[in-house]
């Protein structure tokens, strides 16, 4: 159960080892790592040379902790971790990490997808891309809202 917002990069193997913490009741770990992409597939597809993430210190942590608590309430999870970076980063660098540990894979997979979908629509981060045409704020996507909405349906 942990949330971190930081400028520094992270090591996925170290994060996973810390999250499982030797708990041998854990039978599966699902992880998602988001990376900086060098080409925006929508809009006019300008080459991205760097990305800068701005956030709302204080609210970011509160939102991430709230999202994590929601996942823990919905699924039988032994451990979770969210790490999200801010500041400037280049293509290929990791931006975000979500780890979900459970006795069985289904809860780990579902909780990991849920956390990413909710994080993308609720955590107060904003991306600005450096492109050949100068800096450009990334626009929110309707598909992200739709992905988050699927977890609000009663059958979930």
């Amino acid at each position: 159960m942990s949330v971190r917002v930081q400028e520094a990069t992270f090591d996925v193997a170290v994060e996973m080892a810390e999250t499982t913490g030797g708990d041998t009741s854990i039978g599966g770990v699902a992880m998602f790592v988001g990376l900086v992409r060098d080409l925006d597939p929508h809009a006019d597809a300008k080459k991205v040379s760097a990305l800068t993430l701005e956030h709302y210190p204080g609210m970011t942590e509160r939102q991430l902790e709230g999202i994590e608590a929601e996942a823990l309430a919905r699924w039988p999870l032994a451990a979770t971790r969210i790490v999200h970076r801010h500041g400037r980063m280049e293509p290929g660098e990791p931006i975000v990490l979500v780890i979900c540990c459970s006795a069985h894979r289904e809860a780990a997979f579902d909780a990991c997808a849920f956390l990413m979908d909710w994080l993308k629509t609720k955590a107060p981060f904003w991306k600005v891309e450096d492109t050949d045409d100068g800096p450009r704020w990334v626009e929110a996507r309707a598909s992200d809202d739709a992905a988050a909405d699927r977890w609000t349906k009663p059958e979930c």
Binding site: Y56, M59, H84, P124, V128
Partner: protein, 83 residues
């Protein structure tokens, strides 16, 4: 009242945060935005299209009819794009 602006709202407003004394008739987020629009061309531009702006009061998302008071921290920003 403490105001915070992020992303392009911050750029257009020309500042990331400010402390303001608002007129007593300003009691909701919507009324606050109307008042902010009158405070200069940057803020007028920032709040031109309010459909593109989200609001948080004391770090919780709220709708535009949410009440605001002198001790609140109110933030305005575009839809989030993290992850």
């Amino acid at each position: 009242m403490k105001l915070k602006y992020f992303a392009w709202v911050r750029q257009r407003a020309g500042t990331g945060s400010e402390v303001v004394d608002v007129p007593s008739e300003v009691t909701t987020v919507a009324e606050l935005v109307e008042w902010l629009r009158t405070r200069g061309p940057g803020l007028a531009e920032a709040f031109q299209d309010t459909k593109a702006i989200r609001c948080a009061v004391n770090q919780t998302y709220v709708e535009w009819d949410h009440p605001v008071g002198p001790n609140d921290e109110i933030a305005f920003f575009p839809p989030v794009t993290g992850g």
